[in-house]
C-alpha cells in the first residue's frame, strides 16, 4: 500500500509555509501563523523534570533581538508514516529515513541555547547588519533555554537538551498531521537514474565531526566517533538521518537544520539527471589521530570509486585538524582519478593576510571558500537578548553594539555552502 505509492527511496517533503508565530491557547497553524501554547510545550519538554527550568521565546526576522549561546538549530517536522520520527534513532525507533511523507514547517527553526562547559557559542541578530550573515536571521525562531539542575552532569544535560530540541520540533509540527501542505517537494532520484548514462557520476563526501561529548554528530542515533565511512542515500540526509550535538565554535559546526537542508545534497539532487548523476553520499568522520584520518580518507575515496564516481564534492566540519581530513580525502580521491572540489571557510586573520588553513595538499586545486571567520563585523545595539546574559569574550552588556569576528555569528561561514558568502583575493 504505502510501498506501492512510494518506491523504496522516494521522499515527499510536504511544506507548510509559516510567515509568523505567536503564543496562544491552542498549538496549531492559523493561516500561516504558528500558534504555540507555551505552557503545554514547556510542561511536555520538562515532563520528566530533567531541567531546573525551560524557557520558550520567539524571535522573528526584523526584530531588534539578539540570540546568544546558540547551540543547535532544528526544523519542526513530523513523519506521517507509521511510528517513525523525523529524527530516527536520535528520537524514537530506528527506521530508514528518506522515504515516505514528512511534514515540514518551512521558515521556522527551533534554536537550543544555553551555556556548555568549554564551549564558545554562536550569536544570531534578527535585525541590523549582523542579520545579513546568519541564515537563522531569516527564520522565525522558537528559542529554547533549558537550564540544568545543579547536580546534572554534562553527559545527562547534553542528552536531555538534544532530546528536548528534537521533541519541540516534533511537537510544533504535530498539528499539520491532517493538513494539506502549501507545496510538496519530491525527491525520487532513482526515477531519473537510467535516463542519462552519458552524464558524469558525482558523489558527495560529507565529513562529520564526532570526537567526544559536546562535539558529537549522530547518525541514526549513534555518534559517528568510530564510524568507518559508509554510504547514505541523499534522501536519508534530507530526512533526519544526521543530528548534530556538536557545539564547538559557531561557524565550525554543522547544525542539525543544515544537515536536513544540506545545500550540497540539494544542489546535486537538483542537477541529477540534467547535468550529472548524483551517485550517493559517503559520510566519513573526522577522527582525532592521523592514523584514523588516513584510514577514513582512504576508505571514503574507495567507496566513492565503488560508486563509480568521476567527481566528488567534499565538505568538512570544523577547522584546525579537520583541514587534514579534508585534504587527505581530496588527495586520495584525486589519486584514484576522481576529480574533486572541496569547500572550506578560512581563518585568514582580521586583515585577511594570514594563511587560511592549517593543512594543504597540492591536489586541492579547486576550492570553494565560504568566508573568512576572522574578519570583523559590527553589530547594532538590540532591545532584547535571548539565550543568556553574556557573550563569551565580550566585555559589557550583551545588548550593546559590538564588533566581533564574523566567525562568532552562528553558521555565517558555514562549511556546507548555504549562503552566498565568498572571498575575493586582493
Amino acid at each position: 500500500m504505502q510501498g506501492e505509492e512510494f518506491p523504496f527511496m522516494k521522499l515527499e517533503l510536504r511544506k507548510f509555509t509559516i510567515k509568523d508565530a505567536r503564543f496562544g491557547e491552542v498549538t496549531g497553524i492559523e493561516q500561516g501563523t504558528l500558534v504555540i501554547n507555551k505552557q503545554e510545550l514547556v510542561e511536555f519538554l520538562n515532563r520528566d523534570h530533567s531541567f531546573a527550568g525551560v524557557e520558550v521565546k520567539l524571535a522573528r526576522p526584523g526584530e531588534a533581538v539578539r540570540i546568544v549561546h546558540v547551540m543547535d538549530a532544528v526544523q519542526p517536522r513530523l513523519k506521517l508514516s507509521g511510528d517513525a520520527t523525523p529524527f530516527p534513532g536520535a528520537l524514537g525507533p530506528v527506521e530508514i529515513a528518506g522515504r515516505g511523507q514528512t511534514n515540514v514547517l518551512d521558515g521556522v527553526a527551533v534554536l537550543q541555547t544555553g551555556k556548555r562547559q568549554g564551549i564558545q557559542e554562536g550569536v544570531v541578530d534578527m535585525a541590523g547588519p549582523g542579520a545579513d550573515y546568519s541564515i537563522f536571521s531569516r527564520t522565525i525562531n522558537v528559542v529554547l533555554l533549558c537550564t540544568p539542575h545543579p547536580a546534572t552532569t554534562d553527559v545527562e544535560f547534553d542528552r536531555a537538551t538534544r532530546k528536548a530540541a528534537l521533541e519541540a520540533a516534533v511537537y510544533l509540527a504535530g498539528p499539520t498531521r491532517p493538513m494539506v501542505p502549501d507545496h510538496v517537494e519530491v525527491f525520487d532520484l532513482g526515477a531519473l537514474e537510467n535516463q542519462a548514462h552519458n552524464l558524469p557520476r558525482v558523489v558527495y563526501i560529507y565529513h562529520l565531526q564526532s570526537q567526544g561529548l559536546l562535539r558529537e554528530t549522530f547518525v541514526y542515533g549513534e555518534h559517528a566517533r568510530e564510524l568507518l565511512p559508509t554510504i547514505l542515500h541523499p534522501n536519508e540526509v534530507l530526512d533526519g538521518a544526521i543530528v548534530s550535538s556538536n557545539y564547538i565554535i559557531a561557524c565550525q559546526k554543522n547544525p542539525t537544520y543544515l544537515h536536513l537542508h544540506n545545500p550540497v545534497v540539494l544542489e546535486l539532487a537538483r542537477r541529477h539527471g540534467r547535468d550529472l548523476i548524483f551517485a550517493g553520499v559517503v559520510i566519513a568522520n573526522e577522527h582525532s589521530t592521523l592514523r584514523e584520518k588516513e584510514r577514513s580518507a582512504k576508505f571514503a575515496a574507495k567507496l566513492a570509486w565503488q560508486l563509480g564516481a568521476q567527481g566528488a564534492v567534499i565538505t568538512q566540519e570544523g577547522g584546525g585538524h579537520a583541514d587534514t581530513d579534508l585534504m587527505l580525502t581530496c588527495r586520495e580521491c584525486e589519486q584514484l582519478g576522481i576529480k574533486t572540489v572541496i569547500m572550506a571557510n578560512e581563518i585568514a586573520g582580521a586583515a585577511g593576510d594570514l594563511p587560511s588553513l592549517v593543512d594543504t595538499v597540492p591536489e586541492a586545486d579547486a576550492v570553494v571558500t565560504t568566508g573568512n571567520n576572522d574578519e570583523l563585523v559590527s553589530l547594532d545595539p538590540v532591545e532584547q537578548v535571548l539565550g543568556g546574559e553574556d557573550i563569551a569574550g565580550v566585555a559589557g552588556p550583551p545588548d550593546a553594539g559590538l564588533t566581533i569576528a564574523l566567525g562568532r555569528i552562528y553558521a555565517a561561514t558555514n562549511q556546507l555552502g548555504a549562503t552566498h558568502l565568498s572571498i575575493r583575493g586582493y
Binding site: 545545500p263 581563518i347 594570514l354 586582493y426
Partner: protein, 347 residues
Amino acid sequence: MIRVVHYLNQFFGQIGGEDQAGVAPRAVANPVGPGMALQAALGSKAQVVATVICGDNYFAEHPQPATEEVIQLIRSFEPQLVVAGPAFNAGRYGPACGAVCQAVQSQLGVPAVTGMYPENPGAELYRKDIFCVETGPSAAGMRQAVSAMAVLGLKLAAGEVLGTPEAEGYLPRGIRKNTWAEKTGAARAADMLLAKLQGLPYRTELPMPSFERVSPASPVSDLSTATVALVTEGGIVPKGNPDRLESARASKFLKYSLEGIEDLSGAEFQSVHGGYSNVFANEDPDRVLPVDALRDCEREGKIGRLYKYFFTTTGNGTTLENGRKFGQEIALVLIADGVQAVILTST
C-alpha cells in the same frame, strides 16, 4: 602637482649593460629612458622630478645597504609617489624594485608602484606588501606596463580606495576579503566540479597558502641536567578558570606555578579548551599536561628538573598572529629562566 621619483636599473637608466651592473646608486634630476613614457602617461597631474638608478648586481649583492642608499636618495627629492621599473621578468631587477617599493612605503610613508611579470621572483617575494602591476615578460610590453603603472600610481597618490586586482591590473596580494557571490557556496561547488570534469577552465577561490617552516632546534646534549618546561595549547587552567582563558580564539596565554605539584588533580585543574571533549582531561589533567610523568623523570634522573611554571593557552581557532606572538613571548621567558627543552603538548 604630484612629485614622482622613478627607480631604474643601470640598463634602463642608460648607464650601460651587464658591464655596468655593479654601479652604486645615483640620482639624475629628470626622467630617463622609460621615464619619458612614464611622464607622458602621468600627464599634467604629476611630474617625474628625479630618477634614481642602481646597478643590478650592486643591489643583488648588498640588498640592505643598497636599499638604504636608494631610499636616502629618493627621500632627498620629497616625492609623493615612487614608481619602480617595470622589471618584466628580470630576475635581479624585480626583487630590487620590490625592495625599493616596500622600503618607500614603510620608511617614507609614500605610496609606491612597480610592474613585473607574475613569474619574476620579485613578485613572489614582495606581492604581499606592495602594488605590482602585471606586465608581460619583456620590454616589448613597456608602453602598456608604464601606462597601467601611471594610472595605479595616481590613484595611490590620491589615496583612492582600489578595486579588485582584476579591475585595477595589479597582482593579487593575498589579502582575503569577504564578499557576496552570485550563487551559494554549494552551487559554486557543483559548477566548479562540472567545469573540472569537462576539462573547462575554472578558478579556485582559495589558492593553497604556503606555510612558514620551523626548523627543529638541535637536540639537548644532556637531558639529565636539563631544565624541561611544559607548555600546552590544551587549555589546562586552575579549576574555575580564574583568569578567564578563552575556550576558543584565545587572546592570551597564562603562566601558572608547578611548585610542590607532583600530579595534576582534576579537583584543582581543568581544561577549558572548546575544541575537544574535556571529559578525560578533566578527570586527570596530566593527560594533557603530563606533570606526573615529568616528576617521575626527575626522580629517575632522566631530566635535570621540571621548570617550576607551565604556560597554557587554547589552540582552538586562535589566529596565527596570536599564536606567533604567544610563542615568541613564552620563548623569551623560558630562555631567560635557563630552560633547555620544552615539551609542547597539543590537542
